[in-house]
């Protein structure tokens, strides 16, 4: 892995679900030996945060625009538990390629 990967977590009001997802993302990255930096924002702030934070990957618990040019993952499986293993694998793969 080459260097720190940046993950932007977006949710409706930027606090509750994004924090839960951020903890999970940090956990799986650590397990996989990937160094990550995580930032949280509201869905409406995603475009602005892409410019300032320049994330490699976005994980969102609320709809965000599709045309961002960055891999976007639906983070809800981290909350529901259903599909979580697939999501973990997809995020790690995207971080590995980033």
């Amino acid at each position: 892995m080459n260097g720190e990967k940046r993950v932007l977590i977006a949710c409706g009001t930027s606090i509750a679900t994004a924090t839960v997802v951020a903890e999970k993302v940090k956990e799986i990255a650590k397990e996989a030996g990937i160094s990550v930096r995580v930032a949280q924002c509201k869905a409406a702030e995603v475009r602005g945060r892409i410019e300032t934070f320049n994330p490699h990957v976005i994980v969102a618990t609320t709809p965000v625009p599709k045309d961002l040019g960055i891999p976007v993952f639906n983070g809800v499986p981290f909350l529901s538990g259903v599909g979580m293993d697939e999501l973990k694998a997809q995020i790690l793969e995207a971080l590995g390629k980033a």
Partner: protein
């Protein structure tokens, strides 16, 4: 407000029997939110504005979770509508469709509705972390869905939500 604050500090349970509706019948997600909101309001946990605020928030940021087998929703309103923390729980006999969190075009058939009243956002994070752990267990969801009395719902939540009193 002084006395309300003191009560919060000595109160440990998140769910009380008068905040549980089991079995619950609702026509829609909005109806379910309104019924649980009325319990929260009657118990002095939320302001009169909570119900409408939670219904509006649900339209923008849906809270239905496609949990294993039994769908759950966690409707809530912003902190300014809340007086004291509590969870009102409704177990629906027949599921109602909630919008799916993160997927605006999808809905989830929900049988367990947890209306969250949380007055501080950092507390909401802690609560959500523990609720999410609960909801990822098909066994716990089944226990809740099959509970026949408010007392048993209170016991299940008391058992699984462990937030230190000093954190509240």
């Amino acid at each position: 407000m002084e006395t309300a604050q003191k009560q919060v500090e000595t109160k440990q349970a998140w769910v009380r029997e008068d905040l549980v509706i089991v079995p619950m019948r609702a026509e829609s997600a909005t109806d379910a939110i309104a019924q649980l909101g009325a319990r929260l309001q009657a118990g002095g946990f939320v302001k009169g504005s909570w119900i409408q605020a939670a219904i509006e928030r649900e339209k923008t940021f849906a809270t239905g979770l496609p949990t294993p087998e039994i769908g759950v929703a966690i409707p809530h309103a912003d902190v300014e509508h809340v007086l004291q923390q509590a969870i009102a729980v409704g177990v629906l006999e027949e599921p109602v469709e909630f919008g799916e969190m993160g997927s605006p075009d999808s809905t989830v058939p929900v049988r367990i509705v947890c209306a969250l009243a949380v007055a501080r956002s950092e507390l909401l994070v802690k609560l959500l972390q523990q609720l999410v752990e609960m909801f990822q267990s098909p066994e716990i969801l089944k226990q809740i869905a099959e509970a026949r009395s408010p007392a048993s719902i209170v016991r299940i939540f008391d058992h699984h939500i462990q937030i230190e009193q000093r954190d509240m």
